[in-house]
Symmetry: C2
Subunit: 365 residues, 2 copies
Amino acid sequence: MSVEPIKTIEKADMADIALGGAFLGTGGGGDPYIGKLMAEQALDEHGPVRVADVDEFDDDALIMPVAMMGAPTVMLEKLPKGTEVGTALSSLEAYLGAKADAIFCVEAGGLNSTIPVAVAAATGLPIVDGDGMGRAFPELQMVSMTMHGLKATPMVIADDKGNSIVINAVDNLATEKFARVATVEMGGAALIALYPMRGAEAKKAILRGSMSLIKSIGRIIDAEQAANRNPAQALASELNGIRLFEGRVHDVERRTEGGFARGSCEIVGLGPNDGASITLEFQNEFLIARRANGKPLAMTPDLICLLDLETGQPITTEQIRYGFRVIVFGLPCNPQWRSDHGLELVGPKYFGYELEYQPIEALNG
Amino acid sequence: MSVEPIKTIEKADMADIALGGAFLGTGGGGDPYIGKLMAEQALDEHGPVRVADVDEFDDDALIMPVAMMGAPTVMLEKLPKGTEVGTALSSLEAYLGAKADAIFCVEAGGLNSTIPVAVAAATGLPIVDGDGMGRAFPELQMVSMTMHGLKATPMVIADDKGNSIVINAVDNLATEKFARVATVEMGGAALIALYPMRGAEAKKAILRGSMSLIKSIGRIIDAEQAANRNPAQALASELNGIRLFEGRVHDVERRTEGGFARGSCEIVGLGPNDGASITLEFQNEFLIARRANGKPLAMTPDLICLLDLETGQPITTEQIRYGFRVIVFGLPCNPQWRSDHGLELVGPKYFGYELEYQPIEALNG
C-alpha cells in the first residue's frame, strides 16, 4: 500500500483517523469516535498537531506514549475531560523532572489512536508517526519497545478523581499486572504515561508510519463508503488482507473480567459462506477466528477485523449485536511479531490457547 | 498502669517487646517472633536504637512510619532480609527528596512493632515512642493520623523482587485500596513507608508512649511466666482489662481473602465458663467476641487478645489450633477510637457488622 506520510493533524483529519483507528483496533481499544470528539475539541482550541518522523528528534530527546488503559466498555464511560487528558503525562514529567519532547500512540487502534492527538493538541507537543503495536493489543507489555528491551517504567497511572500512582517494576509483565489491578481499583479505566525513552531508543523501537497508515486506511474506507462500495475489496488489495468470512452474528457472550472485556461471538455464514459458521474470541481485541470444527482461520498476532457487511464500517467487540451482518477481515501483523520473542509476547499461547502460531497467509493459502 | 518510658532498645529488650507486641497485636499483625530475630540481628550489627519522645523533634522534622503490609500468614513467609527492610523508606525518601529524621511503628502490635526496630537499627534513625493505632488494625487508614487529617500519601510499597510503587491518592481509604491490590499482586505481603509528616503534625497525631507500653506489657508477661503464674491476672489489674472467657478451641475457620487473613474460631468453655461457648471473628485482628446466643462480649475497636491458658503467651490468629486451652482477654481501646470519627474508621459497622458499638466495660459491667 502506498501510504502518504502526514505532517500535521487538523480537525478535518480526525474522521479518517478515527475510522482507520477503528479498523486497526481489531475489535478492541474502544470506539475511537468519542476520542475523536475529544481530539477535535482540542484541535479547535489549540490548533493543529505536528506529526513528526522519529528521526527528526535528537538522540537524547524525551519521548513517551500516552494512552488510556482499561476495559473499552468502561473507558467509554470514563473519558477524561479537557485538561484531565494530560494528567498522566504531566505527572510522569514531574516524576522524571524533565519535559517530554514528543508523545506517540502506544497502539495504532481504537481510542488510543485518537486520545494522544488530544494530548498533543493540549500540550503543544508533536506526535511521532509511529506506535508500539501496529494494531491494538490488550496488555501494555505487548509492544515493540518490550522486544527492544525498553522498560515500561517509571509509569504513571492516573484517574479522574485525583489519584495517581507511579510504578517502578522489574519487568514489563510485572508493570502490566500492577497497572491492571490499579486500573480496576480506579473503576476500570485510567490514563497512563509510560515507556519514557530517549530519541535514540525511540528510533530503534517504534513501529514507524502508523499515524499515516491509520489515516490512509480511514481515507480508503471513507472513499469507498462515499462511492457506495463496501471497502473490504479495496482494503484487501491495498493492505494485502484476506476476506475471511461473511455472515450474521448469531450469538455474543461478553464479560468484564480482571479489567478486560472478554468474550466470544458466533457468526453464521451468508452468501459464499452459507452453511458454515465461525467463532471469534476476544480479550479487548479479537484473538482468534475458528471454524465450527475448531480449525483456526486466523490467530493473534495477525489482525482480525470485523466490518459491517454493507458499509464496511469497523465494529468493535462492545458494539457487536445479534443479527449484525458482517465481514471478517484478516491482515498479516507486523513481521516483528512473528519472531520468537514477538510470539512469546502476543502469540496464541500467551492468551491460553494450545495452538502453535500459523500465519494467516498459510491458514488461508 | 505505671509505664516506665524507655530511651533505648537493645538486643536484650527485644524479647519483652515481641511479647508485648504480640499481646497488643490482638491476634493479628503476624507473630512478632520472626521480626524480633530480624531486629536482634540488626541491633547486633549496628548497635542500640534510640527511642525518642515526639516532642524532642523540631516542628519541621520529617517523620514517618514504616511497616509490612499484607496477610500475616504471608508476611511471615516473605520477611525481608538485611538491607531489604529499609527499601520502602529509602524509596519514599528519594521520592520526597528529603531524609527522614525519625521513624515509628504504624501499629503497636505484631510484626510491625518489631520490624521498625530493625529499620531504625539499620538506618541509624531514632524511633518515636508512639504509634498510630495503640493496638493492631488490618487497614492502613485506621490510624490516629487519619483522625487528625493527615494523608497516607505519598506512600511507597515495595517488594523483595525490586518492584516499587508510589501512591498519591485523594484520601486514606483510596490509598488502602490501591496499596492492598498492589500487595496482593506482590505476592501477599510488602514493605511500606507512608504518612510522611512534619514534627508538628506528628506531635498532634501520634498516640504516645506505645513502645514503652509494649515493653512494660512484655515485662509483666515475662515476670509472671518466670514465677509460674498466668499473666492474665496481673495484666487485667495493670491494664484495666477484663478476662472475658476461658475455654478450649473447638473449631477454626481461616481463609486468605482480598489480601487479608479472615476467619473465625469457636471456643468451648472450661472452668468458670463450663457449658458456655463463644466465637471470635477476625480480619487479621480479632474484631468481635460473641456468645453462642449472638450477644457480643467485646467488639472493635476494643482489644480482644487471646492468651494461652497455662502460660499467658499471646496467640495470633494464624497460630490457633484445635484443642488449645485459652483465655480471651479484653482491653478498652484508646479513647480517641470511641469518637464518632474513630468509630467510623474502625467500629463494627466498618467491618460489616450490623452492631452499634458498645464499650467493653458496658458489655461486661
